[in-house]
C-alpha cells in the first residue's frame, strides 16, 4: 500500500516538485522585479523602486490597441474552437465508428507540429489564396492548432460520459435537439468550459502563429517580442507580468468553477461504487 512507502521518499518527491514549480515561476518573478523599477535599464539589485512604468504602460493608447486585438482574436478563437471541438470530441470519444482510430490520430497531428512551420505554411497558403493578413487570418491560424487541443480537452470529459444518458432521454420522448440541450450539453459542461479556457488562454499567449499571420495587426506577444529584440523598456516586463498574472487569474477562477461543478458530482461516483 501507499502508506508503506517510506516517508523520506514521499518528502523527497514533494521537495523535488516544489523546486521545479519554483523553477517554472522564476522567470515570472524576474519579470515582476524588472517591472518595478523607475530607471530606464534593468540593473539588479534594484536601487530605485517604483511603478512609473506600470502607469505609463496602462496609459498608452498603443497598448490598449494591442489588448483589443489580442482579446478580439482570443474571443473569436474560443467561440469557434469550442463549437467545432465539441462535435469533434463526440466523434473522438463518444461514438464507436469505423474511422475513429485514424480520425483520432489526424486530429492530434497539428498539436505535434512545430508551430513556427505551421505559421509559415499558413502564410504561404493564405498568400496563394490571395488573402491579406489581418486579425481574421490570425484567428484561422490559431484555430488550426487550438481546435485539436480543445478537442482533446473536451474528449477527456466525453470519455466519462455515459451514452445511456442520451438514450434514456430519447427513450423518454425527447427529440434529438432536446436530448442535446437537456442532457449532453449540461453533462459535458465542465469539459466544454475547460476547453474554452484552454482555447482562450492559448490564443492569448500565442506567438509563433500570430507572427506570420496577423499582417498589420499586432498582438501582445508579438509586440513584446519586437520590443525585446530592439528597444527594451521596463514596459516589456510590465506587460509580460500583466499577461502572466492575467492568465493565472483567469485559470484560477476557471479552476474554482470546475472544482465547484465537480464537487456537486463527486457524490455520484461514491454512491455508484
Amino acid at each position: 500500500m501507499n502508506s508503506l512507502a517510506p516517508r523520506w521518499r514521499t518528502s523527497l518527491i514533494w521537495a523535488w516538485t516544489a523546486a521545479v514549480v519554483i523553477f517554472m515561476y522564476l522567470p515570472g518573478l524576474c519579470l515582476l522585479l524588472a517591472s518595478m523599477t523607475s530607471s530606464r535599464y534593468f540593473i539588479f539589485p534594484i536601487t530605485k523602486w517604483g511603478f512609473a512604468w506600470w502607469e505609463k504602460t496602462f496609459a498608452s493608447l498603443e497598448i490598449h490597441q494591442l489588448f483589443q486585438t489580442s482579446l478580439l482574436i482570443a474571443f473569436c478563437v474560443t467561440v469557434i474552437a469550442v463549437t467545432i471541438a465539441l462535435f469533434g470530441a463526440l466523434a473522438f470519444a463518444r461514438y464507436d465508428w469505423k474511422g475513429r482510430s485514424i480520425y483520432q490520430k489526424i486530429v492530434l497531428l497539428p498539436i505535434f507540429f512545430p508551430q513556427s512551420v505551421l505559421g509559415l505554411s499558413l502564410l504561404l497558403w493564405f498568400n496563394a489564396l490571395g488573402l491579406t493578413m489581418s486579425w481574421q487570418t490570425a484567428v484561422f491560424a490559431h484555430l488550426v492548432w487550438i481546435v485539436p487541443v480543445c478537442t482533446l480537452v473536451i474528449s477527456i470529459q466525453v470519455y466519462s460520459f455515459d451514452p445511456a444518458l442520451e438514450e434514456a432521454a430519447f427513450d423518454l420522448g425527447a427529440t434529438k435537439w432536446q436530448v442535446f440541450r437537456e442532457v449532453t450539453l449540461p453533462v459535458l459542461f465542465p469539459g466544454i468550459f475547460s476547453g474554452a479556457l484552454f482555447a482562450f488562454l492559448l490564443s492569448w499567449g500565442n506567438f509563433p502563429l500570430s507572427l506570420y499571420t496577423t499582417g498589420a495587426d499586432t498582438t501582445i506577444p508579438e509586440y513584446l517580442y519586437a520590443k525585446m529584440v530592439a528597444g527594451y523598456t521596463p514596459g516589456v516586463p510590465v506587460l509580460g507580468t500583466v499577461s502572466t498574472v492575467g492568465a493565472a487569474g483567469l485559470l484560477l477562477v476557471g479552476y474554482a468553477i470546475i472544482v465547484m461543478l465537480r464537487r456537486r458530482r463527486a457524490a455520484s461516483d461514491q454512491s455508484e461504487v
Binding site: A164, G173, R264, R265
Partner: protein, 355 residues
C-alpha cells in the same frame, strides 16, 4: 388479472452486424400485463433484442408489432415504451424530482401537475417526499433504482423494459428489490419485459421466461416449466448445478451411458431421440447403502463437501466425472473424504434433454 390479448408480437425478428447474426428469427407473443423475462448468458443477443424492442437499434428483418401495428420504423422517442437502463442513466445534473419529471417536461406539462405526479410516484415507490429536491448523485443504490423506475413510470409507457438494472447491486438489496419490482408490477398492471443473465432472478419475478442462446430463443415457459422440464442441456445447465450424463437411446425407457458402461432407467425416451443427455438435479441424487436402494446407481469416491447455509453439497467423483449431491443440512451425510460411496436416483427424477 389481465386481458389475454397479445400486446407485443415479434415475427422472425433478426439483427445482423456485418456477417454476425446477433438475433435470429425470433417469434414471440407477449401478453398484456405480463412479466416476461429474457434470460441468457452474455453475448446471447438479449441486449440487442431489447434494444430493437425499445427502438434504439433497427431490426435487420422481421416485424415488431405493438397491438397489431408494425413499429419497426418508429424511433425510440415516439414509441409508447420505456426502458430502465443497466447503468440507470439518471441525469447527474438534475434532482430526483427533475429526473422523474423529465418526460413530462418534454411534453410541456404544467410544472405543478408535473410535481404532483412526481410526488405521487415517489410515494408509490417509497421514496421520501423531501427527496424531491435532492441531487440524484447523493442517493444510495437502492434509491437510485427507485428514481429510475419512477422516471420510467412517469412516462406512462405501455411496456416497461428493464436491461439488467439490478446486476450491479449487492446480493441482499437485490433480493429485496426483486420482490419490490414484482409488487410494482402488480400495482401498475403494466407489461414488464426484463432481461437478465440470472435465471434465479428471473424465477423470482416472472410470469414467463424465455431462454436465449446464440441469438435464438431456445425455450419459453413458466418458471416452473423451465425448472422442471428443460428441453436442452443448455437450459438445464443454465439453471444451476446439475448432473449431466451423455447417453444414447437403448429401449423405450432405457438409455446407455458409455462413459460409465452402464444402462440407465430413464423417463420414456421420445420418438426420434437417439443421443442426448440425462439430467439429474443434485437434490434428486442420494447416497444409498446398497445397489437396491434406487433404480439407478453409480459407485464413486467422496471428494469434497460445500456448506451452503441450509443445504450441503457433496462432490462425488465417478471415474473423472464429477457429480454433485445436495442434502438439507439437517440430513447431512456422515461419510468422510475419499470414502467409497454409492449414489443413486430414480428414473422419474431425471430428465432427458437434447443438445
Amino acid at each position: 388479472m389481465n386481458s389475454r390479448s397479445p400486446i407485443l408480437q415479434l415475427r422472425k425478428l433478426t439483427k445482423t452486424f456485418g456477417s454476425f447474426t446477433a438475433v435470429k428469427e425470433i417469434n414471440l407473443d407477449i401478453t398484456e400485463g405480463e412479466f416476461f423475462t429474457i434470460v441468457g448468458p452474455s453475448g446471447s443477443g438479449k441486449t440487442t433484442l431489447l434494444r430493437m424492442l425499445t427502438g434504439m437499434e433497427s431490426a435487420t428483418s422481421g416485424d415488431i408489432l405493438l397491438r397489431g401495428a408494425r413499429i419497426n420504423d418508429l424511433p425510440a422517442n415516439k414509441r409508447p415504451t420505456c426502458m430502465v437502463f443497466q447503468s440507470l442513466a439518471l441525469f447527474p445534473h438534475r434532482t430526483v424530482g427533475q429526473n422523474i419529471e423529465f418526460s413530462l417536461k418534454i411534453k410541456n406539462v404544467a410544472p405543478d401537475v408535473r410535481k404532483a405526479r412526481a410526488l405521487q410516484l415517489m410515494a408509490q415507490l417509497r421514496l421520501p417526499q423531501d427527496y424531491y429536491g435532492k441531487s440524484v448523485t447523493k442517493c444510495s443504490g437502492g434509491e437510485r433504482q427507485r428514481v429510475a423506475l419512477a422516471r420510467a413510470l412517469a412516462y406512462d409507457p405501455d411496456i416497461l423494459f428493464f436491461d439488467e438494472p439490478l446486476s450491479a447491486i449487492d446480493y441482499k438489496l437485490r433480493k429485496t428489490l426483486e420482490k419490490e419490482l414484482k409488487d410494482i408490477h402488480r400495482e401498475t398492471g403494466k407489461t414488464f419485459i426484463y432481461i437478465t443473465h440470472s435465471l434465479e432472478e428471473a424465477m423470482v419475478m416472472s410470469d414467463r421466461i424465455g431462454v436465449m442462446r446464440a441469438g435464438q430463443l431456445v425455450q419459453v415457459g413458466s418458471p416452473q416449466q423451465i425448472y422442471s422440464a428443460p428441453e436442452t442441456k443448455f437450459v438445464s445447465e443454465f439453471i444451476g448445478d446439475v448432473n449431466v450424463m451423455a447417453v444414447t437411446a437403448k429401449g423405450s425407457s432405457i438409455v446407455h451411458a458409455a462413459e460409465f458402461g452402464v444402462d440407465i432407467a430413464s423417463p420414456a425416451v421420445p420418438a426420434g431421440f437417439t443421443a442426448g443427455h440425462l439430467v439429474v438435479r443434485p437434490e434428486s441424487l442420494r447416497f444409498i447403502e446398497n445397489r437396491s436402494g434406487a433404480e439407478n446407481c453409480l459407485e464413486g469416491r467422496l471428494y469434497n463437501e460445500y456448506v451452503l447455509g441450509s443445504r450441503i453439497q457433496y462432490q462425488v467423483r465417478v471415474h473423472d466425472h464429477v457429480f454433485i449431491v445436495e442434502k438439507l443440512r439437517q440430513q447431512a451425510f456422515a461419510g468422510q473424504r475419499d470414502d467409497n460411496v454409492l449414489i443413486g436416483w430414480d428414473a422419474k427424477d431425471s430428465i432427458l434433454v437434447t443438445d
